[in-house]
Each structure stands twice: as structure tokens, then as C-alpha cells.
Amino acid sequence: MAAQAPPFMGAPEVLIERLNRGVRKRNARWTFVRDHAFGDALTLRRFRLGNGLTVLTLVDRSAPTVSYHTWFRVGSRHERPGKTGLAHLFEHLMFNETRNHPPGEFDRLMEGAGAEANAATWTDWTYYYENAPRDALPLLIELEGDRMANLVLRVPQVSSEKEVVANERKLRVDDDVEGKALELLYDNAFRRHPYRWPTIGWMDDIRGFTVQDCREFYRTHYAPSNATIVIAGDFDESKALSLVQKHYGGLPGTRRAERPKPSKEPPQRAERVFRLDAPTPTEKLLLGYRAPSFSNPDTAALVVANEVLFGGQSSRLHRLFCLDKEIALSVRGSISPFVDPGLFEMWIFLREGKKKADALALLDREITRLGSEGPRVVELEKAINQLELSFLHSMETAGGKAEQIGFYETVANDGAAVFERLASFREVTANDLKRAVRKYLRPSRRTRVEILRKAS
């Protein structure tokens, strides 16, 4: 049963019936799945094409813009050793030639329409997006539909793009001390799970890709049934769905990604310590505690704990490390938002001359204290308010809304779950937080990378 639609939207069942009238091909027939209200003004609706393509719509007329996201359930976890970085390289290749558009035309058409087109790849997903003036939506649908099925992969493009990616790797990893440290952390925190290799790939693997690798990857993973489209912003829902039907309805729904289950990571029973010597002016500590998956109920408590420890200038660790003791210039924490269990990452950027052993002792003391005493009521309230502020910020633009919805759909299997996230934080009690901290933030569950100054 549909929620009450805003005045500019029709009832979805009626809409679907009209769109399906006279459509014989099963792949091109729409099904309305459900909707979900967000406040009084916005409604997220879920539709599915016969070929398995999921489409989520969120009409928001606050600005004359539209955001079009295509999320594929493929990331670096779906690669294999020796072929790491293929998902990311492939993301680059998707901006090249198709059977209908010569090389360079995709970007020319997008930019000429005023659209910003880009993409991102991580462990569990790859997504492509366009933020555009509202009138450009038909072009976005046509070009995205086209490259989902008609990409042309040839030697010159693959060679040139491999060089670009090799340069990107140098930029983000080889010459970047934080990038290098993160690579070392994940490579050692995981021993079996594919999260151990970097999304950008090992340099030798990047150099070794062939056109055949790319074609095979495309055939395996780029199919309507492995994708979700999110359309957010100022658009006519009926016209948009009609265009999606036209440009995607002809695609077969049979191609399905192979999904071998990744090897389960064995439990970690002792701390692992690694050292990275780098030409850096200050020492740093990077710690990765084994954390639950994004959808695990404990994650909400850890996100609130992260806010108590690292969120803003009044947080416990910022105050202690950066203001009271002046050991560090900055500290930060985050939980990897992965489908499978990931890491709770913590960074301590030491000041010159400060000792990492002192920093580590302080960190352990504070984590133990949080685990035994829990947060104060005001700290919990503060953390929730800050998380609410961050959430609202992330939803300010059409692009922000589409990104959040696409991410939740792909990682948590429900785009509408984004609207429930705040409620899940509000339900976290001091006891939940204490329990989660004690369970996950134990030294024996962590991998530590010590970044030391290399003598010049």
C-alpha cells in the first residue's frame, strides 16, 4: 500500500499500469515494490523492471537539479589475487567508447549539458553518478543505459587508462604516507578476506591487465540485475520511469554476477604490529580494530562511541591528545562501512618529539575507561545531536540524497534504511556502548601501524 503521495506525484500503482500498457517484453515491465516517507515533503519509491533493475526515486523540488546514480554490487572484494584493482580500472573504462558513442563523447555530452559525471569504487561496490540541471535527465538516462550494455573495450583505451590508474596509485598510495599506511594496515589485518588488498590494486596487477580481463569483468558484473538506479531531485517521475523503461527495458535480465562467498576471516587473538618508515616530518599511529559489518546491530553503538571519542573539539580524545596533553595535532576515527566485518580505524597524528608509546598508553586508558564507565548522559546526547547534524548535511543536495540512498541500498540491502539510521543511534544506551567498546576495542583485536620518520 502506498503512502500518501505529495501533490505533484501520482499514485504509483496507476503510474505503473500506464507505463506497462502495451509492453509485451517481460524485461521492460515495471513493478512497484513499496514506498517510504521521509518527513512531510519527501517520499522514496522503489520500482523494479522485469530484467531485475531496481530503481529508487525521490522527488525533491527544492533546487532545479537532478542526481542520477547507478550502483553496481561489485567492488574489489569480487576480484582475485593477481587481478586486484580490476573493479577500479573498469570504473575508469566506463567513461570511454560505446557502440553508439565514440571515445570522449560521453564526457562532452555530459559537460555540455552542465552535468558533473564521476564514479567511485570501493570494496563492495562501484557507483557512477551525474549531478545535472533537471532538463538533462533524458540525456543521463540514455547515456547510462547505453554504457551498461554497449561498452567497447579496445587496447588503446585500456593501455592509456592503465597508465592513468598507475599514476593515481602513485598519487594516493606510493607518495602518500596515509595511503601507504592504510594499505599496510588492511593487508595485515586481514589474512583471508579480499578486504586485504587495496581497491586501487597492486601496481604489478594494474600493469598486467588485458582487454580480455576487462571484457570478462564487464560480462560478469555489469547487468541490470546487479544494479540499482537512484534518481533524486527535481524531475517528473512518470517521464523518468518511461525513459528508463525505454533505455534499459531491452537489456537481458539473465546475466548474473558470480558470487563466490569470500573466505571467512579467522578471529584475531593477538595484536599485530608493523612499522612503516616514511619521509614524513611527524610520526603517526594507525590502528585498526576488527569491527562488525555495517548492518550488524552493534555498529550503531560503535558509531556513537566513535563520536564520543573523536567527534569534534569537545570529544574525549581530541581534548586529551590535542588540547590538554598536546601530544597530537589531530586524532580521528571511523568505522569501515563494509558488507562484511571491517575495521574501526583510529589515527593519531603525533606532534614533533612526542612519543608513540605515551600516545598508545593514553589511548588504551581512555578506551578502557569508556568501556568500564560508559559515556555520560550529556555525552550521549551530544553525540546524537552531532550525528543528526552530519546526517542532515549529507542530505542537503540532490546528489547527497542519491548517494546516501544508493549506499544503503547496496550495503544494507535497503535504500530506505538511511532514514532509520538516526533512530538506531538514538536507541543506543550507555550500556550498549560500553558493551560494544569492551567487545570490539580490545588490543588483541587490533593491527597497529607505526609510521616513523625516515632519516633523510
Binding site: P103, A113, A166, N167, L171, P281, S314, E388
Partner: protein
Amino acid sequence: MNVFVESSDVLPLVDVEIALAVGSLQDPAGREGLAQLTGHLMRRGPRGLSHQRFEHRLASLGARISVQVSMRSTRVRATVLRRNLEPVLELLASLVWRPALRVTDFAKLKRQAQAALTARLDDDQTLGALGFRQALFGEHPYGRTLSGHADSLSRIGIQQVESFYSRNIAKSSFLVGVAGDVSEAEASALIASHLPNPKRRKQKDPVVPATRVRSGRHVIIVDKPERTQTQLFIGTLGARTRDRNLFPLIVSNTAFGGTFSGRLMQEVRAVRGWSYGAYSRLLHAKQRDAWYMSTAPAAEYSADCAALQLDLLERWVDRGIKKAELSFAQRYLINSHCFDRDTPSKRLEARLDVELLGIPRNYVEKYDQLVARVSRQEANDATRARISTRDLTIVVVATASQVVGAFERLPGVKSLQIVPFDRA
């Protein structure tokens, strides 16, 4: 009181901004970083509330406050959950007009600022960008960094901060803007009841001498060990804000290096795969600011990439852009302009820029027409008039031993200097 309001009830979120026409251009010579240090010390909270209690109160209200200092402005911004607007507004006002400016906070802040200068050495792109501005503008105020340098910070004491605050902020005129889930009437009433009378001394615009460019092509290598890649900046002077060539130059630069489809990106990345990014940027200010290209090629072909960029630059300036490139750039600029105003806070910023920075009102209100009316002739004439191919600053962050010979051999290089990265 003139309050700038941009209302939107889509999200229960409000931005409030107090903007003052004071920035790093008011830093005294030798005490660069003073304006920013003053702004950051104000940010530590008002009188009667310790820094810790201030931060705690702010976070409890679901608010964030930032103080952003630029060459010509100081902007104190709060973002807050709608339900807590009033108490945050009160905090914001007391922060600006009753700051504690405590000696203990100052000492900590100064040590933090010095540590931040050290930590910045990790970031090659920032090193390149700062090195480029300093090399291009030399002693001119546009060459100063907002955060100063180790020596200039060491010369700043709490007295200088207090005096800078009294002279430039305490009694100076200011602008107020509110964006988000609040009506114009409500915003005006709240501002009137919490902020002081805005009829104050108008800040005198600092006198900024004309910028000058060194004659010839000069290479500066910022030498950093173990670089597999380089950060490359090549540029010269650009335009003034009130330059009649500004819009023709914006269009021409967009065609050259402002988009993914532009010549620079196509030749450097799409054809050769030499750099992940390749863009040109045109900055404008009261006096001529910078125009530059930035790329990040691998060390082994960094000089080849620089040579290619110089060649592309010469072709752009000498032969101009084609008709198709002109119309593409115009369509891109006009169509994508909606993203400069797709949130209430962006719309507010544009209005405050007009009032605060002296940006002509029609640049905002008639942007599309100003772009659309540029002819190919005007675009190419403006490029030739403003962009020099002879007087260029080339800054590359690299391991000097790997690239020095090749950069020396670039056409027209008049001088080459190697600067250690921790002394750049």
C-alpha cells in the same frame, strides 16, 4: 538591520554567518598569519565560558562553528539544528563581540599552528600550490600564506592578537546572513535581538599594490625525497575581478582546461595517461591574481608533461579557441551554474560575496548573459591580453635529482632553483 536570508524548509537545518571585511591582507609585514590566528583564537569561545565548556555547549546543541579567514574576509559560520537556532545565535554573537582571547588558549593555539605547519609538509599538492603562489607573487601580499610561517608566527604575541581584534573586528561593520529552515521575518527578529547595531566603522579596504610578474620562465623544484610522482604547477598572472576581460577569459580558460573534455585534460590524460588530473584555473581579485595549470605526472615523464603543457599553452594563446570550443564552454558554464545555488547556504554565500568582496552584482545576477555574450574574438583577444607564454612560473614538487636535468632543458627557462621541501 540588513539581514540576508535564504529560506528553505526542506531540512531542519540553519546556517548563520557573520562576515567581516578583514583578512590576511591586513597582516603586518613579518607577522603573517595574524588574521587567521585572531580568528582561530576567537573560535575558542566567549568570555565567561572556558574553551572546554564552550565546545561542550556547542556540540550539545547540535551545532558547529567555523571561522574562515581569507585574504579579504573573516567569516564566522554556524550550522545548527533548527530547534537550537536561538541559543546558538547567542553563542555566535558572543564569540564575535565578546571573545575571551585568553593567554592560555593563545599559547596552545600558537603551538598548534606551528605543529600544523610541520604536518603540512606531508601534503605534496599543498606544498606545490603554496610554492607556486610564493614564487609567482614574491613579496606581494598575494604571496602570503594565510597561516604564516614559523618565523612570522614566532613574532606574534597575545598583544598583537588583541590589538588586531580591537582595530579590525570589535567595532567594524559586518554583514549577517541566515540560510535554511527559517523565515525572513523570524531571522530578522532573531538577529535584531541578539546581534549589536551594525552601524559601525566601515573597514577601510587595504591598499593592495598591482601585482607584477617576473620576466622569463623560472623553474623552482621543491625537493622532497622518494617521490615517484611530481606535482606540477605552471602559471602566470590572471585577471582582476573588475577586468573587462574577465568573462571572455573565464570562457576561454574553460575551453582550454576547465573541464574533462578540455584540451589540457584530453592531451595529458585521455591521450597519454600521464596524469590523473589536468586542469587550468583562473583566479581573480582586486589586483591580477593567478592563472595556472596543475597536473601530477610520474617523475620519469614530468618534464615531458611540462613541455607538452607549454606547447598547449602557446597554441591556446597564439591560435585561440575554436568556435565549437567556445560554444561548448558557454553551454557548460551556463548549464552547470545551477550548482552554484542549489542549496540555501550557497545562495547566501553569493549574496554576501557581492557585498563583502565588491564583486559586481551583475556577475551573480546576469551570469548567464555575461557568459553567453562572449564572442570567439573577445575570448581569444582576452587570452592574448592576459595570459603570458613568456613570463611563467613553473613549480614542481619532486625528488630534484630525478628531474633537474630535464627541467633545465625546457624551452625558454631563464632560471632554475632547488628548494628543500622543509624550507620551501
